[in-house]
């Protein structure tokens, strides 16, 4: 069985992975890109079969088009509609899922067609398990954003598309985020601290490491929220900063999904934690099991030593 798939996108991140997920179903892949032309171009480079571009003027968020786009997509009666996990893309997906009568499943890692069923692997219990579901009817799936490899195929054709219905009267104003100038957002290296730090004064323990690495200081949510030891704009996580440094070093951070979502795009993630069972040791690239109060000074010494 091959299954045609529509991918509804309002943001350009992770579209290569999303198109790759759709390709596993073997059918035609149509992307509906709702946003600026750059979004449609980004979608095209992921090499679906076609891109339909719904232009949004300044001041109009993609959500304004959700009902109109959803109705048009549902009218095509696809078996599968997909979206990335960003908020506006989810609104587009849900607006198609409801008129389709589709089951809606989130945090989807992979899809495949088996006989008449669609089989879905998804993240469940905060990442503790992967759950496999069989879906017998139409499916709407929010993908767990993953990067794919850059498509080798030529870019897909882009055609402008205007849904029949008018957009809703939703408006948006965009301005630089408070704290956007803080270095953590654009830093090549970020060292974050979590509850493994015993006091605010102990931030001094980390400072030599920041200097040695040329890194900016980040933190987990409790350090900025409950404890207030680190400025809020340096909080990294789902509702904080989403960053993409070349190196992310987590000190005394357990690695709950809420935090790790903020560093999903980091090139290399390393962690120091005294608990060998800490979840971060299941997701980081490198880990050191040890007391950060011993390991951090040792890292400073090692960084000062010439390469072996």
């Amino acid at each position: 069985m091959t299954v045609d798939t529509w991918l509804l996108a309002a943001a350009g991140a992770h579209l290569d992975g999303a198109v790759a997920a759709a390709r596993t179903l073997g059918g035609r892949v149509t992307v509906v890109a709702v946003g600026p032309h750059a979004l449609a171009e980004a979608a095209a480079t992921a090499a679906p079969d076609e891109v339909r571009w719904v232009e949004t003027p300044d001041g109009e968020p993609a959500e304004a088009w959700a009902a109109a786009v959803g109705a048009e997509v549902a009218a095509a009666a696809p078996r599968v509609v997909l979206s990335p996990a960003d908020p506006a893309s989810r609104a587009l997906l849900a607006a198609a899922a409801v008129p389709l009568g589709a089951a809606l499943v989130s945090r989807v890692l992979a899809l495949r067609a088996e006989d008449d069923a669609l089989v879905v692997d998804r993240v469940s219990l905060g990442g503790a398990v992967v759950e496999t579901l069989a879906v017998s009817g139409p499916l709407a799936a929010v993908l767990d954003d993953r990067d794919g490899t850059t498509a080798a195929a030529p870019p897909a054709p882009v055609t402008a598309w205007t849904p029949a219905a008018a957009p809703a009267a939703v408006q948006v104003k965009r301005e630089p985020a408070p704290g956007a100038a803080a270095g953590v957002r654009d830093a090549a290296r970020v060292v974050s601290v979590g509850r493994g730090l015993r006091s605010k004064d102990d931030l001094a323990v980390v400072e030599p490491l920041l200097a040695a690495l040329g890194a900016e200081l980040g933190c987990s949510m409790p350090m900025a929220d409950d404890l207030g030891w680190v400025p809020k704009e340096r909080y990294v996580g789902r509702s904080g900063q989403h960053i993409a440094p070349r190196l992310y070093l987590a000190l005394g951070i357990s690695g709950m999904p809420q935090h790790m979502e903020g560093v999903r795009d980091a090139k290399v993630v390393a962690a120091v934690n005294s608990d060998p069972a800490a979840p971060i040791f299941r997701t980081a690239d490198y880990g050191v099991v040890g007391d950060l109060y011993e390991v951090v000074p040792a890292l400073v010494r090692a960084l000062g030593a010439p390469p072996a």
């Binding site: 968020p61 609104a91 409801v98 290399v268």
Partner: protein, 246 residues
Amino acid sequence: MRAVVVHAWARSAAGAVVHADGGVEWRNARPVAGEDDPAAVTAALALAGADGEVVGLTLGDADPSWSLARGAARAVRVTDAPIADDEGTTAAVIAAAVRSVADVDVVVVGDSEEHPGVAAAVGAALGWPVVTGIVSASPSGAGIEAVRPSGDVQETLLVPCPAVLGVVAEGAEARTPGMKEQLAARKRPVLTTTLAELGVPELAAPSTVQVRGTRLPDQATTRVFEGHADETARQLVAALRAEGVL
């Protein structure tokens, strides 16, 4: 403004035990408030204001007093709502219950990381505009002004009512209700209803989504160094130099 705040509509991962073979055993399958639900209540109270009303809405055998103790004036509980693997079904139940509450201006749902489709699907099921990923909201004329961080940008969305908001917590709940508030909550009215009474008995039917099983995630290729601090630090620095990130 009348705001419905939806809470405790899904099971918590804390109620599950994951066995070594990846099997899941639910020790507590009762729906409980999610980590974003306190932020949803805060937003609902801000939107309702002193002259408005917040109505709590919850599903199954969840505790409606959770929202009542945090400022909701009354609550609705759909007693036979299924705990669904299909977020569309959950959203359809919520939407049906919202329709049973008169003159709702806004529905506020915790924008759950585990179930990120629900808030958006509630909006779609109601046919109302929906914005998610929101961190704060306030009334603005005949609509709502909602703030959402988006990368380097802060978006301020102007949404006409009625609308649905998916709210994300920026931190842990600042203050949990005390005994006085919990006792007062038990005196506030709770309307229990059923799928049949809401006119959606079909939502109790078996879903098109069936669970085949669970397994442990693929092990990440984490290189873990253990031992003396100087030795592990040296190994980590060497690895990071080899990665080209130092």
